[in-house]
Symmetry: C2
Subunit: 247 residues, 2 copies
């Protein structure tokens, strides 16, 4: 069934958790900021696709800015100048920067049942937090979440792809086949871990950034469970762990 | 002499290197971008202290943005709007964003003798790279430097203070008294490590961001050497290592 794991130790040795929209609300705040941005530009231009144009600028800038609020903010400024043909007023540029400052300061609101679910999993497995984006902002959110004592390690990475997860597993001293990842993004949390022979529990969130929604699980579906919320996580992890031991 | 180290293992067990302005040029590019920013604002306002006002905005935003190009860029946009009373034109906002994009893409230019010096130290001690700032940008620079194969670990941190160095030493499995840090900033690279009982080699750079220049070494001067360039580093490390063994 899993020829890539045939020589590896069996069982789950570590469980990783994504943070934004898995442990606490995040995308809602981004969506609200984008709606404010669109209202602000409506004073200048009559365009139905401001959101799509912003997304195109963000994608273009991703290789330079990486993920996170500050990069999004700079893409918003750039989009505003472009779409208004340079007519954007200083006061509205200021409003865009303020939108970003609010995003960087929103309270960290845990999703329902998070603490109990992480504690239940942590009672059986070492757990780590793996999140991508802006180092400074993510560290601040982890501190405010009150959850940092539950995690043995907190890893903030610039991209969540197979090479990153492979490096983390090396640093953790485990094989990817012993690693299980929990998260809301198929693209960032699930597909790359399954591709390495690992395990995943997908916890969908009600809203997903277009970028994260672009994913298909190509292989390893038998090592994936989907649960409606974190309350259903501990039994799903136990179920997969039993499968992993059976091999 | 060092009561804090009396119960600790002796000798140097690991050498850390700062990156920006220690291994490669960085502040020069920031200085050039700031000069361009000042010229751009000279079209609007007749102020001799644009640089000082930008610095004040950067300091105000540091707790929110952290270090790095993107935060500086957002502070530039904010300063431009403030100082022009909102009269800044869209095309000039665009020029500021472009300044930042150039900063994010400047070539990584190693300082003279870097590779030989790091190789010489690495032949005798495990070496790690410890840099602060924007995760995404710093990772890109490390990749481009061609030096990443020399370092056992690369740590990108949000602040270089005693708690951060203490955490890193725990993760490295050594006591702070066994750690030696090499860098150009007394504030970020030297003073916090000396404060923990560690060792430092200061390699001054010809230009220093005002923020990094604010430091005094309060204690531990006997565990510090200053060298004019990295060619003089290996003997300075050996000298301190001999002192550390002697205790």
């Amino acid at each position: 069934m899993r020829p890539d794991a045939s020589d590896s130790p069996r069982g789950i040795a570590m469980v990783g958790f994504d943070a934004d929209d898995t442990l606490w609300r995040s995308q809602d705040y981004f969506d609200a900021a984008q709606a404010q941005f669109e209202r602000l530009l409506a004073d200048y231009v009559d365009l139905a696709d401001v959101g799509a144009r912003l997304y195109a600028v963000e994608q273009r800038n991703l290789a330079l800015f990486g993920y996170g609020v500050k990069g999004m903010l700079l893409s918003m400024v750039e989009t505003a100048v472009e779409l208004t043909g340079g007519r954007i007023r200083g006061e509205d540029v200021h409003r865009i920067v303020e939108l970003g400052k609010q995003l960087l300061q929103h309270p960290v609101e845990l999703l329902p049942g998070v603490r109990a679910a992480v504690e239940a999993v942590a009672a059986e497995f070492p757990v780590v937090l793996i999140t991508k984006g802006d180092l400074f902002h993510q560290e601040a959110k982890v501190r405010q979440s009150g959850l940092s004592d539950l995690f043995g390690r907190i890893e903030i990475v610039s991209e969540k792809d197979p090479p990153t997860y492979a490096r983390l597993c090396r640093e953790f001293g485990i094989a990817p086949q012993q690693f299980l990842m929990v998260g809301n993004s198929l693209r960032s949390d699930i597909a790359p871990v399954l591709a390495l022979g690992g395990w995943g529990v997908h916890v969908p969130y009600h809203t997903t950034w277009a970028h994260e929604a672009q994913a298909r699980v190509e292989a390893g579906g038998e090592r994936l469970r989907t649960v409606p919320d974190l309350a259903a996580l501990p039994p799903a992890v136990r179920d997969l762990a039993a499968l992993a031991v059976a091999g």
